[in-house]
Symmetry: C2
Subunit: 428 residues, 2 copies
């Protein structure tokens, strides 16, 4: 029987308390399967949602105590990038293995942290930083290691997926559903981090980095959110056999990497189209295995904590074996060129807000054709009001041209076009 | 840089040739990520579909050569249970680590093999034995290790899923689709192993064993196949909002284990209902993570081989670290009590073949009510022919009562009931 492994926890928020619960409630099954136990040795937290669980444990006076000799693994569960970065780098210098659920930290300071970890021979577990309870990090870095990954298509933000699913089901407006989501706790009081795609962008930077062994950070991700999506768009999409989803996409074409987060029209028989509510789903397309898809709760105390504990167990096994080995740290992160999205081609859905008058479509069609954009289908919804939506689905066109055309239409036809043109790509 | 790892391959069929292709085509990326290479040292095979790939490698004269000192891991890719068992046990005695894709071997001799492996300190990789390219074995034994698993619901046979999906889409008969599947290579010339549920039963025995740390073998699995499913059943199901799928179910209730393979009515918004064609999907419900679902190709040369190579890499990392550690071998397999399915309750779909005459429904209803089975909905399809299908959906009833009722109806009413009553459970 190996010796027990001691962990120190920095941060007792939603995830931290979930970790405490799992390590306590399932201590027996973990010990039975592992052959040794996992002890919570020290905890440091400014606030605690679960002090009651921890009566037997020592609260530290400051985080330095988590770096004591008898602690093997420290958990960074405070979030944010300032204190978290300082703490993690300091812990690595003290030869502590790290488990973190902090996507912002990894998407912005990951390579600094990983290189320092490699120098100090410690391991960074970050399964919980992407898609909560779905073990996508280990799947990519270990189970698919013999594959060249071609692309990732993912729903990694449960809040946006919940909102879009609810709009589809209830036919209600974005605002109504968002407010409902905030009430029900599916969205933050300040929802911008989720609905503007920032959360998804951080997660996609991490997934792209490990999938393509590439230096990818948050700043490298093209981001569009779902703020402007209206039920009209979702309804038009479903009439054409599509669902609207906020997707994260990472793909390598001719040695250039695309990492983008944006709403997409996806065919309703695509497995991702059928993932609704707060669920996350990641489809990985690789050369040998083909398409595999991983679906589960992307957030929540226990699912996320379960991934944290899986990392603890993974590192604990390494410690017992006497050699810490991480697929990720042996992999080299290369500098890569990123695709210029203006050169990409796609089918596009465009919603213009137009004055309901004669000749509007003609004017718009002229500008589109000037930029070699041909219309596949068009619908104008007369609502009796003076400004009505004009919905256009295009054939394949170059993104630069679409953007130029929209700008020109909005500039030269202000008499018939109101602002707030909405552009959504159709997933190939 | 660690030393390269040498593998010996027994069997160059579909999977074996896939392994050779992956280890050759992706040698660079594997070496880059691992920090060392994987060499194919020796191969023994009676027949080879890929001799051309192997010109540089040594063909062994007999499998004993695969047990030479310079081979670290042997791959058992011949299938079957006689020679495969003999070879694997002998290889373990020679302290060789084993990777096998052989579900029949593991579902029938797994515990003999695992205990011998534990005695000899070697590891058994068997990711490829269940669901081809889907890394479900590692997910359960490692990523969900901190969880108590409550149940598994899975589509693990691509042939059956293809046939049922095609019947749903084309409205054609089971026979027509099966013949098409055989022509297109989605089904074997002798399809009984797949369509009678045997293949699924072997896979479910393996999944149940690792999910519940329980001694489960093929003989412990209740099995029904899809031979008797007619388009009528699929059509009736879809009218009520269900899809018909061959499911493997493993669940623990009050310390009794149920492992069953059978066709089920499942609600069409269940994620498994949306997995069509040759794809496999496994839903795992666990106490902390909740429901997670894993979808991918369940068969095929490269997806299956990719899982074999993932096992090789996993074991190779252990070898390099100097200590081989397997979640499975440290876990203890307990003897468990199995559920008596006659005591289970469920909603049931029953298709009687009845003579189209007055009083038929009355007679059937009487017998059902005698056994406390109440009818939720019933449809009789008059086809002008003398024998017509009578479709019944029941409220919750005890399985023993359903079976007794059907037997009594078939026995006492031979004048109105023709044989071939079909019973399908409704998934809760």
């Amino acid at each position: 029987m190996d010796k027990d492994i001691n962990v120190g926890i920095f941060g007792l928020g939603t995830v931290g308390c979930g970790v405490v619960k799992i390590l306590q409630d399932n201590a027996d099954v973990i010990k039975k399967r592992l052959g040794f136990g996992i002890n919570i040795k020290k905890v440091f937290s400014h606030t605690s949602k679960c002090k009651n669980l921890l009566s037997n444990y020592t609260y530290a006076k400051n985080y330095k105590e988590l770096l004591d000799d008898d602690i093997d693994i420290v958990l960074e569960l405070i979030g944010g990038t300032d204190v978290a970065r300082k703490f993690v780098l300091e812990a690595i210098e003290h030869k502590k293995h790290i488990v973190s659920a902090n996507k912002a930290l990894l998407a912005n300071h990951g390579f600094e942290i990983f290189s320092k970890a490699t120098q100090n021979g410690v391991k960074i577990g970050f399964e919980a930083s992407v898609a909560g309870g779905v073990p996508i990090i280990k799947v990519i870095t270990r189970d698919l290691m013999a594959n060249n990954i071609k692309s990732i298509k993912a729903i990694v933000n449960g809040t946006c997926n919940y909102i879009l699913s609810q709009m589809f089901e209830t036919h209600e407006s974005f605002e109504n559903i968002l407010n409902k989501a905030i009430k029900e706790g599916y969205a933050e009081r300040d929802p911008s981090f989720d609905i503007d795609g920032i959360d998804s962008a951080q997660k996609m930077a991490i997934l792209a980095a490990i999938s393509f062994n590439a230096k990818v950070e948050e700043k490298d991700v093209y981001v569009e959110g779902i703020r402007d999506i209206d039920f009209i768009d979702i309804d038009f999409a479903s009439q054409l056999g599509y669902r609207v989803k906020l997707l994260g996409i990472a793909s390598m074409n001719e040695n250039k990497l695309l990492v983008r987060v944006a709403p997409y029209f996806i065919e309703s028989d695509n497995v991702l189209a059928k993932v609704d509510g707060v669920y996350n789903a990641i489809s990985v397309i690789s050369d040998m295995t083909g398409q595999t898809t991983y679906v589960g709760k992307g957030a929540g105390s226990l699912p996320t904590a379960s991934s944290v504990v899986a990392d603890i167990i993974d590192i604990a096994n390494d410690i017992q074996s006497g050699q810490v080995k991480s697929a990720l740290q042996t992999g080299i992160f290369d500098n890569v060129e990123f695709v210029d999205v203006d050169n990409l081609e796609s089918h596009y859905y465009i919603r213009f807000s137009v004055v309901d008058s004669v000749g509007v479509l003609g004017n718009i069609a002229l500008v589109l054709s000037k930029y070699n954009i041909s219309i596949k289908s068009v619908v104008q919804i007369g609502k009796g009001s003076d400004v009505v939506p004009l919905l256009v689905l295009t054939h394949k066109a170059k993104e630069a041209n679409i953007k130029k055309a929209i700008k020109e239409i909005e500039k030269d036809h202000q008499n018939i076009i109101k602002n707030g043109t909405v552009l959504i790509r159709v997933l190939d």
